[in-house]
C-alpha cells in the first residue's frame, strides 16, 4: 500500500505544488495505510528537505544526477519507475504540471497503472477507490473509480492544505544509473523569466486584458502584482498581440490557475478566459463596463477606469504593510 510522491524542483527549490502533493499523500496514507516515500531528482538545496518532512514524508529518496535538473521527460519517467518498484509502492502521487503530466502518462504504461488527472480531493475508499477530478476545464467534476492495483494521481493545485508539522524524514541518496537512451530528446536551451513567481504556482495572480490598450501600460499591473507578491497573467488577445509573453496567457487554451486571489483588470470575462480561473478562491474584477460578464463570476468588483483604480489600489495595499 505504500505511496511514492514525485516532487519537482525549480532552481533548487521544491515547488509549492509538490509540497502539496506530499501532504495529499500523507492524507491518503491516513486513509489506506502505507508509508509516504518521496523522490526528488536533480540538484535540490539541502535545506529544502526539511519542508518535505514537514509536509508529511516518511522517507525521502534523492537522485542527484545533474542531467535531471532539466525536465527530461523520458529520464524522469525512467527514474520514477525504478524507485516505484524499489520501495514497493502501489500509488504514485504528483502535482499536475507540464512536466508532471508528460511523465505521469508514460508511467501509466510502464507501471500498468490506472491514472486520474486533475484530482481535487482525497479518494472515497468505501466502495473501491473513487476519486473526484475536475473536467470540462473546471465546469464540472467526475467521480472516477480506478480499477487497477497500481494507481497514479495527478493532483490539481490548491486542493489540499500543505502540512508543516510532519517531522523529520531521512534523505537517502540513490545511485541509480539513468541510461543514455533516455536523453534522445536533447534540451538545447531554455528561456525563463528570472526571479518571477511562477504563474501556475502562484497564490495571488494579477491579470490584464485588452482593455489596457497596449504593452506600455503594464507598469501599473506590475506594480500591483509586486505589492501583492503576485504572478502576472493576461488574456489571450494580449499574448496573441505580443504585448505579454505566452506563458502568462490564462484560460481555456492557456494556463489554468488556482490561486487564493485572482485580480482581473480590463478583461471582459469571456467563457474561455473564465475556464482558466474558475478554480480561484476569490476573484476581484476591475472593469469600466458594468455589464462585463466577468462581474458574474467575481466575488468583489469595482466598476471604474483601470488607469484610475489600479494605481490607487496599489497605494492602498502598500499602505497596509
Amino acid at each position: 500500500m505504500s505511496i511514492l510522491v514525485y516532487i519537482e524542483q525549480d532552481q533548487g527549490k521544491i515547488k509549492g505544488s509538490s509540497l502539496e502533493a506530499v501532504s495529499y499523500a500523507a492524507g491518503l496514507s491516513e486513509l489506506q495505510g502505507g508509508d509516504v516515500n518521496v523522490l526528488g531528482l536533480g540538484s535540490i538545496e539541502a535545506e529544502e528537505w526539511n519542508k518535505v518532512g514537514g509536509a508529511g514524508a516518511n522517507a525521502i529518496y534523492h537522485i542527484g544526477d545533474e542531467r535531471l535538473d532539466q525536465g527530461v521527460i523520458l529520464a524522469h519517467a525512467d527514474a520514477i519507475a525504478k524507485v516505484f518498484e524499489k520501495v514497493g509502492a502501489t500509488t504514485l502521487v504528483l502535482a499536475k504540471s507540464s512536466l508532471g503530466d508528460a511523465v505521469a502518462a508514460r508511467l501509466a504504461v510502464k507501471l500498468g497503472a490506472g491514472l486520474v488527472s486533475n484530482v481535487v480531493g482525497l479518494p472515497d475508499l468505501s466502495n473501491g477507490f473513487v476519486v473526484k477530478r475536475s473536467i470540462f476545464t473546471g465546469k464540472a467534476f467526475a467521480d472516477t473509480s480506478i480499477d487497477t492495483e497500481n494507481k497514479i494521481l495527478a493532483v490539481k493545485k490548491n486542493i489540499h492544505p500543505i502540512k508543516t508539522d510532519g517531522g523529520e524524514a531521512k534523505v537517502e541518496s540513490l545511485d541509480l544509473t539513468i541510461s543514455e537512451e533516455n536523453f534522445v530528446a536533447k534540451i538545447t536551451g531554455a528561456e525563463k523569466a528570472e526571479g518571477e513567481i511562477l504563474l501556475p504556482e502562484a497564490d495571488v495572480v494579477v491579470s490584464g486584458g485588452r482593455g489596457l490598450k497596449g504593452p506600455e501600460n503594464w507598469n501599473m499591473i506590475e506594480e500591483l502584482a509586486d505589492s501583492l507578491n503576485a504572478a502576472k497573467g493576461c488574456s489571450k488577445p494580449v499574448s496573441d498581440l505580443g504585448w505579454r509573453p505566452h506563458h502568462e496567457h490564462v484560460g481555456q487554451t492557456g494556463v489554468k490557475v488556482a490561486p487564493t486571489l485572482y485580480v482581473a483588470v480590463a478583461i471582459s470575462g469571456a467563457i474561455q478566459h473564465l475556464a482558466g480561473v474558475n478554480a480561484s478562491k476569490y476573484i476581484v474584477v476591475i472593469n469600466n463596463d458594468p455589464d462585463a460578464p466577468f462581474f458574474k463570476a467575481a466575488d468583489y468588483g469595482i466598476v471604474g477606469d483601470a488607469f484610475d483604480v489600479v494605481p490607487k489600489l496599489t497605494q492602498a495595499i502598500k499602505a497596509l504593510k
Binding site: 532539466q70 525536465g71 521527460i73 507540464s98 512536466l99 503530466d101 508528460a102 511523465v103 502518462a105 508514460r106 501509466a108 490506472g114 491514472l115 486520474v116 473526484k132 475536475s134 473536467i135 470540462f136 473546471g138 465546469k139 464540472a140 467534476f141 467526475a142 472516477t144 473509480s145 480506478i146 480499477d147 530528446a185 536533447k186 534540451i187 538545447t188 536551451g189 531554455a190 528561456e191 525563463k192 523569466a193 518571477e196 511562477l198 504563474l199 504556482e201 505566452h246 506563458h247 487554451t253 467563457i271 474561455q272 475556464a275 474558475n278 478562491k281 476569490y282 476581484v284 462581474f295 463570476a297 466575488d299 468583489y300 468588483g301 469595482i302 490607487k312 489600489l313 497605494q315 492602498a316
Partner: protein, 243 residues
C-alpha cells in the same frame, strides 16, 4: 512525410455543460461539437508541414459514429484520409492503446496531438502513446520545425520555454502559437466529401478507470460591488481575510 493527427470531438468552448440520467451522461442537447482547439492547432501545423515537405496526413479519432462530421471537417481543413476507431472513448489509456495499436505498423514520421482534450483535460494520451510505441513524447509544444530527419521544437515550461532537438519519429502535444487555426474553404469542403474515411473496430482492451457520476460545481454567490479601493481592501482583509 507521413503525419498522424489525433483529434477529439468535444463540446464547443461556449457550451453549457449539463448532465442527464441521474448525472451519469453528458446532456448533448443543444451542444455543438467541434475539433478540440488544441487538436486544431496540431492539424493546422500538420497542414503547413505537408505543404513544406509534400507529405500525407491521416486524421484519427477514437469515437462513435457521431464524430464523423468532425473528421470530415478535418479532411476539409487539409487531412488526406480519416480513420475512426469505432468505440466510445471512456478512458485515456483505452484511447491511447487504440491509437498505438493503429499506428504501430504504419511508419508515421510524426504523430501530432493536442496538448489536452477540452472535455476530460487529461493531457495524458500523447505520453501514453509515446510509451506504448517506444517514441519520445513532448508536450505542450509551441513551435515545431522539421529539418531533415530532425525535429526542432520549443516546449512551454512554467515561466518560459525550453528548446528541444529530437530525431523523427516522435509525438508532440501541440498548443498555440504553433500555427494559426485554419478555416476550411469551399474547395476543401467539396473534396472532403470524397476523401476516404475508414472505420476500424477497436482492439480488445479493458478500461482502467470509469466515471461513476458527474457533478456540477456549487453556484457562485453574487458579486459585491464597491465604489472605491478602500472598500475593496477592507473586503479583502476582513471578509476574505487574505491581505
Amino acid at each position: 512525410m507521413k503525419i498522424l493527427v489525433c483529434i477529439t470531438h468535444v463540446p464547443d468552448t461556449t457550451s453549457k455543460i449539463q448532465f442527464t440520467d441521474n448525472n451519469t451522461q453528458l446532456d448533448k442537447k443543444g451542444v455543438q461539437f467541434i475539433i478540440g482547439p488544441y487538436d486544431d492547432y496540431a492539424l493546422a501545423r500538420a497542414v503547413e508541414l505537408k505543404a513544406e515537405t509534400s507529405g500525407n496526413i491521416t486524421v484519427l479519432n477514437v469515437g462513435e459514429v457521431e464524430t464523423e462530421p468532425t473528421l470530415r471537417k478535418a479532411l476539409a481543413i487539409g487531412a488526406d484520409e480519416a480513420v475512426r476507431i469505432n468505440a466510445a472513448p471512456k478512458d485515456a489509456f483505452f484511447v491511447a492503446k487504440q491509437i498505438a495499436n493503429y499506428a504501430k505498423d504504419k511508419a508515421f514520421d510524426l504523430i501530432l496531438m493536442g496538448r489536452e482534450s477540452i472535455d476530460f483535460n487529461g493531457g495524458m494520451v500523447h505520453g501514453m502513446v509515446g510509451e506504448l510505441l517506444g517514441m519520445p513524447s513532448m508536450s505542450p509544444v509551441m513551435k515545431l520545425e522539421i529539418e531533415g530527419d530532425k525535429g526542432k521544437l520549443s516546449r512551454e515550461i512554467e515561466g518560459g520555454k525550453e528548446f528541444i532537438e529530437v530525431d523523427l519519429p516522435f509525438i508532440a502535444g501541440c498548443q498555440e502559437p504553433i500555427a494559426e487555426w485554419k478555416i476550411p474553404n469551399m474547395r476543401g469542403i467539396m473534396s472532403a466529401r470524397t476523401k476516404p474515411l475508414s472505420v476500424i473496430e477497436p482492439a480488445e482492451e479493458a478500461e482502467r478507470t470509469a466515471v461513476n457520476s458527474y457533478e456540477m460545481p456549487p453556484a457562485k454567490g453574487a458579486v459585491k460591488l464597491v465604489d472605491n479601493v478602500d472598500q475593496l481592501v477592507d473586503l479583502l482583509k476582513n471578509d476574505a481575510k487574505i491581505l
